[in-house]
Amino acid sequence: MPSLTTLPELIVGLPGTFATPGFSSALHPDPEPVSPPVLSARALSRDFGLRHAVREVSLTLARGEVLGLLGPNGAGKTTTMQMITGNLAPTAGEIQICGIDLLDHPTRAKARIGYLPETPPLYRDLTVDEFLRLAARLHRVPKARIASTVTQAQRRCGLTDMSARRIGALSKGYQQRVGIAQAIVHEPDLVVLDEPTVGLDPNQIREIRTLIRELADDHAVILSTHILPEVETVCDRVQILHQGQVVYTDNIAALKQYRGGHALTVALRRPPAVDDLKSLPGVRNVEVLSGDRFRLFHEADINPAETVVKRSVEQDWGLTELTPVETTLEEVFVHLTQSDAAEPPAP
């Protein structure tokens, strides 16, 4: 331990103290020292003229994590990603990549980032191989390792058979993969993907999602999307942006509860009176969708599904459908952004 440290120095130097080799090896038998988070962005703001595109957004991300940035169009997802990758200077706030300040040491920090913008930056006249070699060289991959990293990136993105094809002649799905390969070819610590599945067919979307999950094994990944199920299948954590501000940060499980919606759709062949349904335990309100379909809104902590089934059998209602109503993204947003009008969040 350092002997003569004043109190403020000690506080400021605390994370550094843990990272000193002697100290960490005493705590951890493994040789890997405690490292700073891959991405730490604090209070990022960005104005375009009088418009505040992003206000006070903070992000932290550790290795092995996939963070989803969710939000409607124009919420500030792309602006945030452009700031993290050094394509746009923040009006206020600071960004550190593996402890390196992006604004003070842009080249050192950028070497650790791989970025796939909304439109993949592809030179259509080059072949996949030539393009990835160029990307590797631009990211300062040592000459001796270029061939192996390019092969590796092609293998991971399923491009091995396409390596000699001209990028302009590839389909949209393959171009997207080249875009992702370009972002991982230099084995960055942080991979930033802006809407990676837009414009792809369902099969390609599934493949890309699998790929992103694989990337999380040895990179930290941020991806933006406006598709809620995508976040649920791929991400560990989610931050929802709305009008440039973070309105929700939590893990995926909590979001799923949010989405639960506390309502059931019920279809009955021989429906009872609406008041009978209303009197079921936990049911707050009943909406008649059509002659024999109803929507039951229930309390958050009492799910009447079981009772509905039981009563249906006892009183011969003829149950044909029982579905929990999932809230759409829009409803989640309404929930999150109009907090004064909405009820308190799910348990």
């Binding site: 104005d47 375009f48 003229g49 990758t85 050094g86 394509n87 746009l88 200077a89 009006t91 842009p106 080249t107 050192r108 920090a109 950028k110 070497a111 980032i113 970025y115 913008p117 439109t119 930056p121 592809l122 030179y123 259509r124 006249d125 080059l126 030539e130 160029l134 990307a135 060289r137 631009l138 990211h139 300062r140 370009q182």
Partner: protein
């Protein structure tokens, strides 16, 4: 890193047919000028020998050919420089360079170097054509070298101006037209200035080329081109930086 970007630009030039067409057309035009001046020289040669100090073959043929080459480059460079940044901006491929651990200065200098190397290839082809005169007589290597250096510097100055203008817009055609106009203005700037001390002579691209055409390496002219190139590269780098900062 600069060389990587320069190589990328050269490859982009030669991947498209444009560079090959440019080289071929240029070669035809310059060869024609070369032949015509050679013909005139042969016709005039009997009279020239009567002078006490007759102009040599290099002075008579090579210098005018490089002079025409300068005019051709003036029209050619805007076509090549327009795509440097404007096209990347339009295709949104500039992100690749900006996200890479490369400074704006490296991007700009790399692109400039790529184009200037191509122009140097053009000048080299002209020099090779001039060297073919060795077959029929003696040539003045000093004069030839001065012409090569002058024309390369002039091409570099054109390229730097074109690069800067290309960084101002996302539309290559606008970049080409604006570059051509700017180069022409800088070229003819001193036409209306009969006074040899006029500041317009100081700024004119053509005036500073004249000494090279005569075989004189004037440090003032060298400095003019070096400063001009540095100025416009700096402006282009700042312009790219402003994309990141501006609101």
């Amino acid at each position: 890193m600069i060389l990587t970007i320069a190589a990328k630009e050269l490859r982009a030039l030669f991947n498209a047919p444009l560079a090959w067409v440019v080289l071929a057309v240029l070669q035809v035009i310059l060869a024609w000028i070369f032949l015509v001046s050679l013909d005139r020289y042969i016709a005039l040669q009997p009279q020239l020998v009567q002078y006490p100090n007759p102009p040599g073959v290099t002075e008579f043929i090579v210098a005018p050919m490089f002079g025409s080459g300068a005019v051709v480059l003036l029209m050619l460079v805007p076509l090549l420089s327009m795509r440097l940044i404007a096209e990347e901006r339009r295709n949104q491929t500039l992100t690749l360079l900006v996200s890479a651990p490369v400074s704006m200065t490296e991007i700009v200098v790399g692109k400039f170097l790529g184009l200037t190397l191509f122009l140097f290839a053009v000048v080299t082809l002209m020099a090779v054509m001039a060297l073919s005169l060795i077959a029929g007589g003696k040539i003045d290597f000093g004069l030839l070298a001065a012409n090569v250096i002058g024309l390369t510097l002039l091409g570099g100055a054109f390229a730097a101006i074109g690069l800067y203008i290309s960084s101002l817009t996302a539309n290559p055609v606008i970049a080409a037209v604006a570059t051509l106009a700017s180069l022409l203005v800088l070229w003819i700037l001193n036409m209306g200035a009969p006074d040899p001390g006029s500041i317009l002579h100081l700024l004119s691209l053509m005036k500073h080329y004249e000494s090279f055409a005569k075989g004189v390496l004037d440090t003032g002219d060298l400095a003019y081109y070096a400063l001009l190139i540095a100025l416009f590269l700096l402006l282009a780098a700042r312009r790219l930086d402003r994309d990141r900062l501006a609101s």
